[in-house]
Subunit: 119 residues, 2 copies
Amino acid sequence: MSDAKTYLDPAIAARLKRTSDGLVAAIVQEHGTGDVLMLAWMDEEALHRTLTTGRATYWSRSRGEYWVKGATSGHHQHVRKVALDCDGDALLLTVDQTGAACHTGTHTCFTDELPVEAS
Amino acid sequence: MSDAKTYLDPAIAARLKRTSDGLVAAIVQEHGTGDVLMLAWMDEEALHRTLTTGRATYWSRSRGEYWVKGATSGHHQHVRKVALDCDGDALLLTVDQTGAACHTGTHTCFTDELPVEAS
């Protein structure tokens, strides 16, 4: 988590329950197809920027910086809706995705299927 | 994270990138509707139990114990598919959901919509 001051609405901030590293999980679902594209992380300021710009903005755990999706790749996410879950530790973004959501070039990041033995 | 020994396939365990509290995020999507129902957390043993029983099993961060979804409520999740994402820190479960997914009684946990100012 950044030490940057945040301008997130305090009423929203009070409803967030962050992990021990100060983040909430952000699930990204594509409008239209319903495909779950990716999971990213937000601190309060990333959520503030997302809500006020309509462009999905995350906190990169690996790079330690804010990250506007598509700023490098052009694969933007236009945010239609943001919903918080019942216990405040996850967000669901509904987006219009330009191009591939995954940095590997695939439509979604969830391409590695694991074997379910009993079904 | 529990200190319990896990029997998760080491080849799968090696692909997981856990948060600082030893967990991976598990997104739960309903088969058929495509609705994102909830987000829960798994350690290696929870994933092992899910893959080998076909019943969604999580690690409860608040209670510090394993949790078979529906064991108390009857609202089971029959797991059809499990996919790992490209960087190993999130799972996507495709499930058949019995009853309400959310402990509050609603179909999904994502009922608290936040205002997106620019769209």
